[in-house]
């Protein structure tokens, strides 16, 4: 039971990180009609910049600095590349994001190399123990920060004019334009929000005992099943999908290690993703798209 709780806690903490990344995917997909394959590299950039600034600045300033850099990068990519390609069709845009992903990855390798770096988390290696279960501070921080960020996002989308304008743009672009909503600005806004989420995810992805390495970008791939399971256009779906993937990975590593060459927990999220695609193609929470009368 203790083991189950221990793994469950870690699974939720990891799942929250996936949720933040998945949310970024969903917000960009909804807000600008693109699937951004470079998002994982934005996560990596976030971690590397925090790490680079940490020795020189207080942690919170390093974090803010990374947000500035990563958001600027996202906006640059959005404005110079994607907005120009928008009328060339989705496939072109998505392939362009793949290209951007490769470029940013190469840039990271050039600046920081392939080697393993230190941790970039906001809290160290400390733990607290509750009833035999060890709760690492990094895990607690991950969960608390994620919940705060999710709540802030909820307020943003439900209660602010920009949030409403973003949802309107996601719902019907031409109608949004007709209301005087600048959809170019909305595309940029959705990318900026996704970039902020990427940086938040990155510091927890690089929290002790995890370290920064270029493979951090690959974690975004693990968030793709989360996105599909939850539903491409559902914010709640992204969170639930992220938690499902995190729990499967950590609980699976504990309880399924004796089956399938120990790879079951790695494959299972993808199996679940395919299952969802077959049974419920719009994801657990995705909308089928309400008919326009």
């Amino acid at each position: 039971m203790t083991l189950f709780l221990q793994l469950g806690f870690q699974g939720i903490a990891l799942g929250m990180v996936y949720a933040l990344i998945a949310l970024g995917f969903v917000i960009m997909t909804k807000g600008s009609n693109t699937f951004n394959f470079a998002h994982g590299e934005f996560v990596a950039v976030g971690a590397y910049v925090v790490l680079a600034l940490m020795p020189h600045l207080p942690y919170w300033l390093a974090f803010l600095g990374s947000i500035v850099v990563t958001v600027a990068l996202a906006l640059l990519v959005e404005a110079t590349l994607l907005r120009r390609l928008l009328d060339k069709g989705l496939t072109t845009v998505v392939l362009a994001t793949l290209g951007v992903s490769i470029m940013v990855h190469a840039l990271i390798l050039m600046v920081w190399g392939v080697g393993t770096k230190g941790s970039a988390g906001p809290v160290g290696s400390g733990t607290v123990e509750v009833g035999g279960v060890v709760l690492p501070l990094s895990g607690i921080a991950t969960i608390v920060a994620s919940v705060i960020v999710l709540a802030a996002l909820l307020v943003f989308f439900r209660r602010t004019p920009y949030g409403l304008a973003l949802r309107a743009t996601a719902s019907h672009q031409e109608a949004a334009l007709a209301q005087g909503i600048d959809i170019g600005r909305m595309f940029a806004l959705s990318w900026a929000i996704a970039a902020v989420l990427a940086v938040v995810a990155s510091i927890f992805l690089a929290s002790f005992p995890r370290v920064v390495s270029p493979s951090i970008a690959l974690v975004a791939l693990a968030a793709i099943p989360a996105v599909v399971i939850g539903g491409m256009d559902s914010l709640i779906g992204a969170v639930v999908g992220g938690l499902i993937v995190g729990l499967i990975q950590v609980l699976g590593a504990g309880y399924l290690a004796d089956y399938g060459g120990g790879k079951l927990h790695e494959v299972l999220p993808y199996v679940l993703m395919l299952l969802v695609l077959v049974v419920r193609p719009y994801g657990l929470f995705g909308s089928r798209g309400i008919e326009r009368v």
Binding site: E174, A176, G180, I181, D182
Partner: protein
């Protein structure tokens, strides 16, 4: 010029490499009036609307010549958002509400450019809803689940949330039952009486001409006939030849 709410000069539009959709079109909506823009399918009515509101790029269209003025301001180079700020609003053909958003949110989106404060927003909404009492009870309903008539009301109401001086309505009667068409007609008239100038695109000529002061008939991207609503109404040929739509019950003088 300044007594024109909307003035369009020598407007030509083409879609990609395709043939010209509008060819040197000139048209005016005097302040406080309803002007009807009539014509068969494919005449270029919606294209004109898009050229005025700045939505052509969405459809791959572009201006090849011409100028658009709203309240004496040249808006030809403005983005759609700029034009809305100047005082232009459009209800798109086929209603096009935000289906996933509630009625209240649809309305709020319509007021987006005005950056209303809370109290202000409530006040404007009250005024708009005054024309659409039916929507009052549906505020928290997702717009996608409304009936066609309700959606049309919502689309017009949403456009009114920016308190426009000029309102563009693209076929508001499209696909609605005669009874509802009548309600829509009354609402348009009401809105106009409160001071909003209206360019009304319709295939239902009888309905449009029953409330308009002036009318243009469009065919193949050109104005083929223009005149006061009374003149056009009096011309049987126009109704049967160009428009071919039976008059709405109680809406016109022709039985």
């Amino acid at each position: 010029m300044s007594d024109c709410a909307l003035a369009v000069h020598d407007l030509s539009v083409r879609y990609g490499a395709a043939a010209t959709a509008l060819d040197g079109l000139t048209l005016e909506v005097p302040r406080g009036e309803i002007v009807a823009l009539l014509g068969p399918n494919g005449a270029g009515k919606s294209t004109l609307m898009r050229a005025v509101s700045g939505l052509l790029p969405v459809h791959g269209g572009s201006l090849t010549s011409g100028r658009v003025e709203v309240l004496g301001t040249d808006v030809t180079r403005l983005r759609p958002s700029g034009r809305v700020r100047v005082g232009l609003a459009q209800a798109l053909e086929g209603r096009q509400v935000f289906p996933e958003l509630t009625v209240a949110e649809n309305l709020a989106a319509g007021g987006y450019v005005r950056r209303y404060r809370k109290a202000e927003a409530r006040e404007v909404r009250e005024r708009v809803l005054h024309h659409f009492p039916r929507l009052q009870d549906l505020m928290d309903r997702q717009a996608g689940y409304l009936s066609g008539g309700e959606q049309q009301m919502l689309a017009i109401g949403r456009a009114m949330m920016s308190q426009p001086s000029v309102l563009l309505l693209d076929e508001p009667s499209l696909g609605l039952a005669p009874k509802i068409v009548e309600t829509v007609r009354d609402v348009i008239l009401d809105i106009n009486r409160e001071g909003t100038s209206i360019l009304l695109v319709e295939q239902n000529a009888a309905m449009a001409l029953s409330i308009a002061q002036h009318g243009y008939i469009l065919e193949g991207g050109r104005v083929v006939r223009e005149g006061s609503a009374a003149e056009l109404r009096a011309d049987d040929d126009i109704v049967s030849l160009y428009l071919g739509v039976a008059p709405v019950e109680g809406a016109g003088q022709h039985g």
